[in-house]
Symmetry: C2
Subunit: 358 residues, 2 copies
């Protein structure tokens, strides 16, 4: 395939290696790996997980659950506080597969109990410190009230507690990530101890799943981003540059030699606006040289310094500026691969084939 | 239409009023209005411009030019440094309509001159202070060299200079915006004076097009965002809340009364990650009450305080927190309507009809 527009390149080998490494780690620690598919959103990439023996997956919306249900997945967990307005889709999915949803509010539980006709698996999210969604783990009364309701419920089959320790994204290095991870797991188990041994404990952040060594007290992991990784994960220390399995290819459309900058076609509608604070300033992506077998490591001093809707403004080193020509392709490693993939809506493999997404 | 998922509501009256106001202003000042369609990306909304007598439009990519060419537009300007790799599309479009492209580099000009078979209109972007794309206006030699080339060119028909004064987005109020606007126009005319009277002068930022009163020395305006406006424009002073013509509708999926917050389905894949610094802190959207005829003004103390891929964390006032229920819809005015529309890929009119996009 001859590229003429901004494209998201996918290195299948790197991606498969990331999948295999996480599957190996899960096996080693006796964990169930229910990978989160919100990052890649692709049935095709889902197949590579099937080849690793994965049978249960995680998604972030009921629409995404429908897409992967069509591809024959037998158990899908929608890791997002349930949208009760979509009860018809929940009913439809329950007929096809083992569906798990997240219920974090008694109000949602009551609403669905009245409307559903079949059993649906339920996880409840506990807030162990990230302060996004979930019942604060200290809030014994609210948790007990909800579990009581599930216990008496005909359709809502409680399976376990989940916590997303999103605050691992705000630290760097194995030690700092592992500290948050252990605190998360301890808090989940502290709550579990007040109820039943049958309760499963699930966590999901890629930094902890990649870096932690101690998974005692955890039954299920649901990482997503590790399938591709990105510059955020590299900065945290959860991966190396070599692990990043996707790279934007952007054509050079203008040269500004007076300031060692070029304009590429590649902006907020391709990358999203996620940004990294680095020693070089704010960075929206790092330039990696493209070659026949993929791309190399980031080039020193070469990065996406700002973006608008379609424009990407790239700072180059004087040596790279010297060489670059109008119509050349720059490889740019994304800051946040989930949002970049979501915007691009398909991948181009290194052999030039299109890999479709939801 | 019964909504069950995050949706982008479109108030046709507000949108038509914004279009009419800009068309009136252009007529009053004797300006050609070539509206930028990157914001709405919709043939249907394009029709409302046709009803105002608009015949020439602006887009941000050749792909968008193809979409609007299919809808019968006679003159389209692609306001983005030309991607020479897409020369086949340029040739195809030249057969159908009067196409104008942006060429800011001699290298691009030489490349296309050899490849094209028909005439294409050309604008050259000058950098008058924003420092994104365009030749620095002080760089007399580079500008002269490029215009010389156009003069001798068979296919590249030079039409004018353009500047995008994106730095108007970093100030607030009519006076500050007008000051940048006048500086921009003076710098463009300073360059023009060295060449020919035939050269057209075009500008495009919505803040200046909305707020400035003095358009002497300007021939063409290319604003885009004004069709919807948004919180960024309101903060600048370019519009009032009442002018904002799109509003996200997001379902409430979890309540956190202990911190006056709710979770909505509405995250970075719906809003984009554009953010506003306000007296209430970082804001990703402001809550406006939805009613049968649209939505009201933002509610004090109610705003989208953070987002992840699908989650929106909304801060509510104690009064609103008291009333809200699981499954309710919150209206949320977007920070940046262009990126929100690009992500949502369609609109829902207030009468419940779907309005399609590119």
């Amino acid at each position: 395939m001859k590229l003429t527009e901004p494209s998201l390149l996918l290195d299948e080998n790197k991606c498969r290696n990331n999948i295999a490494a996480m599957a190996d780690k899960a096996r080693l620690h006796g964990l169930e790996l229910h990978p989160h598919f919100k990052t890649h959103q692709s049935q095709r990439i889902g197949d590579w997980f099937k080849e690793e023996g994965i049978t249960s997956i995680t998604v972030s919306s009921l629409r995404m659950a429908q897409y992967f249900a069509d591809d024959g997945w037998e158990e899908i967990t929608v890791a997002f506080p349930v949208n009760v307005l979509r009860r018809d889709i929940i009913k439809e999915l329950c007929k096809k597969l083992r569906l798990n949803i997240y219920i974090n509010c008694l109000e949602s539980a009551r609403y669905l109990e009245d409307k559903l006709k079949r059993q649906v698996g339920v996880f409840t999210e506990l807030d162990t410190g990230y302060h996004r969604s979930g019942i604060p783990y200290e809030n014994q009364e609210e948790i007990a009230e909800l579990l009581d309701f599930f216990h008496q419920s005909e359709h809502l089959q409680f399976k376990g507690f989940y916590a997303h320790a999103g605050h691992t994204y705000h630290v760097q290095g194995k030690e700092a990530v592992s500290k948050i991870h252990r605190e998360t797991v301890e808090r989940l188990n502290e709550v579990k101890a007040r109820f039943s041994d049958d309760i499963k404990i699930a966590i999901g952040d890629t930094p902890a799943c990649s870096l932690a060594d101690d998974f005692s007290g955890v039954d299920i992991i649901r990482p997503g981003n590790f399938v591709f990784y990105d510059l955020v994960q590299q900065q945290i220390g959860a991966c190396s540059y070599e692990d990043i399995a996707v790279c934007m290819a952007c054509p050079v459309v203008e040269k500004r030699p007076e300031r060692n900058e070029v304009i590429v076609h590649g902006g907020a509608i391709h990358f999203s606006k996620d940004m990294l604070e680095t020693s070089e300033g704010q960075v929206y992506g790092k330039v990696a040289r493209l070659h026949d077998q993929g791309w190399g490591a980031p080039e020193a001093g070469c990065y996406l310094k700002s973006i608008s809707q379609e424009h990407g403004l790239v700072k180059l080193s004087p040596e790279q500026m010297e060489k670059v020509q109008i119509g050349d392709w720059l490889g740019i490693l994304p800051v946040h691969s989930c949002l970049t993939a979501n915007l691009m809506q398909s991948y181009i493999s290194l052999s030039g084939r299109k890999v479709t997404m939801m």
